[in-house]
Symmetry: C2
Subunit: 320 residues, 2 copies
């Protein structure tokens, strides 16, 4: 690799590592993996979080080394590595660290990345940011260990939906094979990711699947979640967002829609498509955006009003 | 590989290929993959099924070449390859083919395999029978193609729960990488395996998760399915068996139990364990058996009576 950004570092470098708000397996996995690796290279490495560290991912080795950035600490950095983050706004309150860093290194696999870094290492063909970090470390000749491999495997597995989504390539499996060679505990990873679901989130899933509505001759599934339902089941935002995939995965469904009532007379809308429909266009009609198969928008109105607007738009755009 | 059984064949060999009843991704994938490969070696290759071919797997290339065995056909075979099948009884009505074959080649990865073949190629370390078939074909130098690779990948993916279960190894990922190198259509495979669920099976899942009972201080989940529920939702047996995994995957649950009422005053019971509990012992107390983490038994009585028996046994054995 020409210009491997790790070659910029020396033992005295002060480095910040950041990722996006609402962290997921790939952002946390790449954040910690790169952090643990860099700590082998230089003394002043700080791994920052923007949000509470999700309970689900506290099995990741080294998670205790992830710290909250305190705005009053007046710390400056030689380098700031930003991982898995399409633009600066998604950094939340740690965006301020960018201004305190001499050089920003932006490492990501999202096609929407705005190339906001001084150095931009963008690989939209990579399954995940963890796959890019793996390439970086291997290219630099930095020895991996079981902790780093566990974090990288977790990010790759979660961002590919366990090697199911279209971003999975032969190379993704090859990297997974090499990471397993470091004797990671797959049983432990699987347990924490998939076998440790809170009972209330499972009851919540059952409730919404029971009340899901199917329309447009079986082509559209709509799940509506009034605010009081979240309180009733006491579920996390991540539990809510996941249910839309169950609607998408039904035979014949081409568009799945999640309507989440939020404060201020707005509804947060999630769209998922399975085959040929481009739901980023649909979201775009309401000021939102995203990918072809997964997009979102925030729309004013009650759940009923928003549902009606969406149904009219679908009829108009698709002739259904 | 010493004694690769493929070296027994010549162009005039008559070969039958069989697998177990209640077919799954690994049995069908290995059956068809080996069949398609052998058809490159000899003229008389017959791929037999014992059951209706499941709708879900009709995307497998070459599935039309799988035929029902007709007892009146009086056909004899030089070789019978039996795949993914622990013992002869699991062959259903095609068990008769064994008697009409000069040599039985038994290829499997189940630890419970009774070694009923003349040649037994048993590898309990392999993730799946498809992984063993891959090794056989590669060792023999037989060129794979996209159809064979699609079948093998499907079997490996389904038998490992998408690379999640403990049978997944570094080598499993390596094989998956090599199979993807044949340009298989992962999107199509994923769509048919995971994104094409009948609506009634999703509504059924919602219903049973809603009515699931939790006992023993949150350590045991019980799902009871009376016969009339199956009729009400019009679901397949495979839809029923899958729901137990949702119960197992709940935080704190150590044993998940599925009670399925069946004709004749019996209840078919499925057990799943997550960590240290060995549910094959529990099943054994009721004349059943299986693996440490997945077992089953058939118990006389109504659902209520069977539940009571099980609860008493759990208290006795585990002190809960």
């Amino acid at each position: 690799m020409r210009n491997n950004p790790l070659s910029l570092l020396d033992t005295h470098s002060k480095v910040a590592i950041l990722s996006h708000v609402s962290p997921d397996g790939d952002s946390l996995g790449s954040l910690i993996a790169l952090g643990l690796a860099m700590k082998k290279l230089c003394q002043g490495v700080y791994i920052f979080r923007n949000d509470l560290f999700p309970e689900k991912y506290k099995f990741l080795p080294g998670y205790q080394q992830v710290e909250a950035y305190r705005e009053d600490c007046q710390q400056d950095f030689d380098f700031c590595f930003v991982l898995d983050c399409g633009d600066e706004k998604r950094l939340g309150y740690s965006e301020v660290i960018l201004k305190r860093s001499k050089k920003i290194i932006n490492i990501d696999h999202h096609i929407s990345n705005t190339a906001f870094g001084d150095i931009n290492l963008l690989d939209t063909e990579a399954s995940s940011t963890c796959e890019i970090v793996y390439n970086l470390l291997k290219d630099f000749g930095l020895a991996l260990d079981v902790d780093i491999a566990t974090c990288l495997y977790t990010g790759i597995a979660t961002d590919t939906g366990n090697f199911v989504y279209d971003n999975t390539t032969a190379y993704t499996h090859q990297v997974a094979a090499e990471l397993m060679g470091f004797h990671i505990d797959l049983h432990k990873i699987s347990y924490h990711l998939y076998q440790n679901k809170p009972l209330n989130s499972v009851r919540f899933l059952a409730h919404v699947l029971n009340h899901m509505e199917i329309g447009f001759d079986g082509k559209v599934a709509i799940i509506a979640i009034p605010e009081e339902l979240l309180k009733k089941f006491n579920v996390l935002s991540s539990d809510v967002d996941g249910v839309i995939n169950y609607a998408r995965d039904i035979q014949g469904i081409e568009i799945a829609i999640l309507l989440k009532e939020s404060a201020g007379g707005e509804v947060k809308v999630g769209f998922r498509a399975k085959k040929d429909i481009d739901v980023s266009l649909l979201a775009g009609k309401f000021g939102g955006g995203g990918h072809k198969k997964a997009s979102g928008a925030t729309i004013e109105g009650t759940i009923e009003e928003v549902r009606k607007k969406l149904e009219e738009q679908i009829t108009m755009d698709l002739g259904w």
